[in-house]
Amino acid sequence: MHIMNMTGLCKLKDLVELDISNNMFGAKLPECLSNLTNLRVFELSNNLFSGNFPSFTTNLTSLVYLSFYGNYTQGSFSLSTLANHSNLKVLYISSQSTKAHIETEKIKWFPQFQLRSLILRNGNLNKDRGSVIPTFLSYQYHLMLVDLSRNKIVGSFPSWLMHNHNMKYFDISNNNLSGLLPEDIGIFLPSVTHLNFSCNNLKGNIPSSTGKMKELQFLDFSHNHFLGELPEQLATKWNELQYLKLSNNILHGTFLNFVIL
């Protein structure tokens, strides 16, 4: 589809779902898309969009699902522009470009939405504000998927994220998080299936409560400073585990209690 045809989309005032994902669209999106105020699903993932992030999403207050995942978008995108999107449940933003800048702290704002699914990946998150973890996340209680990987985030492990007891997928790899993991992480995230904390500066023991994560399928704690022995019988508790990566830490002890099922 040529870009010139895309302005035609703006006439579809009653459009509710626009899904052009997994194509090779690359031109600038027309600003008149801001007219599609009934739009609930706006799905652009895995295309070749390379300009600045569109600003018309501010007007699309009916959005439930917004995804720019896997494009080459650059420039700054402020999540505060989505503050009043009270229906928003899925927000996916990632860029293959190094020049993307996702920003959540420039102004004080309070989210009207409760997200289920959030990807802010490879976006130099809050790089002008000390690369802090977005504060709006502390008002989110129904998150099931969180991917904040590849952002250079600093600070300690965001233990308040564990208020989201339904968390299934949690990826904060490739950041600069430091400090210990919460002892009771396994109690607060009982149904998590995917945990990726790799490539940070986390230290201390691997909490034995991780054995409580019965549905765990994927666990990557590699490239940190975890030390000590593995909690006893850990692997036998992880019945569903398919992928375990603990490489490049300072772990010791024998595999005596570690039967690889």
Binding site: V90, D147, L244, I250, H252, V259, I260
Partner: protein
């Protein structure tokens, strides 16, 4: 468990009873720990394994049987494994990489190696392997890197080193051979994106569609999205000695690397001119052997070569001027041979310093501070093979001349004392006086 990475930690103990009855394991990385004991026999039942990396531990015993079907990468280097290379390994015909380097393996390089026709990397360096290089190795048409260095191989180099890849073939990216993990990680990546739609069906409940109409958009099959960072996830690495150092190759660089290392053996005979057919090779190391004869002119075909080490052999003749066509050459070392004439000095050869040529008494020219006519008149002195022997000759001459002069002076002294009585009396008087001062009991004349 299907994919297990415990490498680069301080784990200890043995692998006994660790694997249970697991048949699903596809990747096993336990390298660089302090694991002891033998490789457990259960590993031969683990029929899904694609990568086994037990390198850099303290494993002992012999190499067990591995599953024939799926194994593609076997890293056992830097342990204390003994015995010979087992013939069961010939059944692992899917192997792409075999690294058994730096163990204590003995015996010969097996002649069934041609069964492993998919091999792209073969590393057997740093063992006690002896005998010849079997010609079956030349049947490994896909080989890009081969390291047989630091063994006791003692025959001549076979002349069949041609029609082998060494960078010539365009292979698929090496990690694509890892079907299981590639599929697993790609699917997870796509699952995330789909999860947003599946995660809570109620998301779309409030919309104007009923469930039936919406389910249409759920059945879209996303194309498998292979993340380029997948290669980092699966750390396929190969160590290879290049340009004086041991480098670890991985990722895209590994795909482009091509090299042959036969150094530090007891190889004899000529350098086969067929090496000139390995036109994409980047590294060739034949140093520290007993190779003789000339440097093949065909080396001028190795246009991609960056490092050529022929040092510490018995090579003779001139350095072919044609080698100046090798414009990628960064390291060139022919030191400690018996080469003659003037080294080329144009193009890349203008960058090489005296170290490249040291220990070749027959080489001359301004770089070596040796006038050519002088040296060319004396290459008949065959004993000047290299600098080591050169110093030996010097020492022998020195001892002989020292002994001769010592005896001559002693005889002359005694003769003088015999002839001249006054000098004799004075000599013994002063000897007696000297002895008296040391030992007062000594009678003074």
């Amino acid at each position: 468990m299907r994919f297990l990475f415990l490498n680069n930690n301080n784990f200890s103990g043995t692998l006994e009873d660790v694997f249970g009855n697991n048949t699903k394991l596809g990747l096993l990385y336990i390298s660089n720990n302090s694991i002891t004991g033998t490789i457990p026999i259960e590993i031969s039942n683990m029929s899904s394994l694609e990568i086994i990396d037990l390198s850099q531990n303290n494993l002992i015993g012999s190499i067990p049987k591995f599953t024939a079907g799926s194994l593609r990468f076997l890293y056992l280097q830097k342990n204390n494994l003994t015995g010979s290379i087992p013939s069961e390994l010939s059944e692992s015909s899917e192997l792409i990489l075999l690294d058994l380097g730096d163990n204590k393996l003995s015996g010969k390089i097996p002649n069934w190696m041609d069964n492993l026709s998919r091999l792209r990397v073969l590393a057997l360096g740093g063992n006690n392997l002896e005998g010849d290089i079997p010609i079956e190795l030349c049947q490994l048409k896909n080989i890009d890197m081969m390291d047989l260095s630091r063994n006791k191989l003692n025959a001549s180099i076979p002349t069949c080193f041609q029609n082998m890849s060494f960078g010539m073939h365009d292979h698929n990216p090496i990690f694509e051979a890892l079907y299981q993990i590639t599929k697993f990680l790609s699917e997870r990546l796509n699952d995330i994106l789909l999860l947003g739609r599946h995660i809570d069906n109620r998301i779309f409940d409030g919309l104007i569609w009923n469930e039936n109409s919406f389910s249409a958009s759920l059945t879209i099959d996303l194309p498998l999205h292979v993340d380029p960072s997948l290669n980092d996830e699966i750390n396929l690495e190969v160590e290879f000695r290049t340009k004086l150092y041991i480098y670890s190759y991985k990722g895209k660089i590994l795909e482009k690397m091509a090299g042959l290392d036969l150094s530090c053996n007891y190889l004899t005979g000529l350098i086969p001119s067929q090496f000139g057919n390995l036109q994409q090779i980047k590294v060739l190391n034949l140093s520290h052997n007993f190779l003789s004869g000339p440097i093949p002119i065909t080396f001028s075909n190795l246009t991609q070569i960056e490092s050529l080490d022929l040092s510490y052999n018995n090579l003779s003749g001139k350095i072919p001027y044609e080698l100046t066509q090798l414009t990628s050459l960064e390291i060139f070392n022919v030191s400690y041979n018996n080469l003659t004439g003037t080294p080329p000095s144009t193009r890349q050869f203008a960058t090489f310093v005296e170290d490249s040529y040291r220990g070749n008494p027959g080489l001359c020219g301004p770089l070596l501070n040796r006038k050519c006519e002088h040296v060319e008149s004396s290459p008949s002195s065959k004993s000047n093979d290299n600098e080591k022997e050169e110093t030996n000759v010097d020492m022998i001459t020195f001892y002989w001349s020292f002994a001769t002069s010592y005896v001559t002076i002693l005889l002359a002294f005694i003769t003088v004392l015999c002839i001249n009585a006054r000098w004799r009396m004075a000599w013994f008087y002063y000897i007696g006086k000297f002895m008296h001062t040391l030992f007062p009991a000594f009678p003074l004349y």
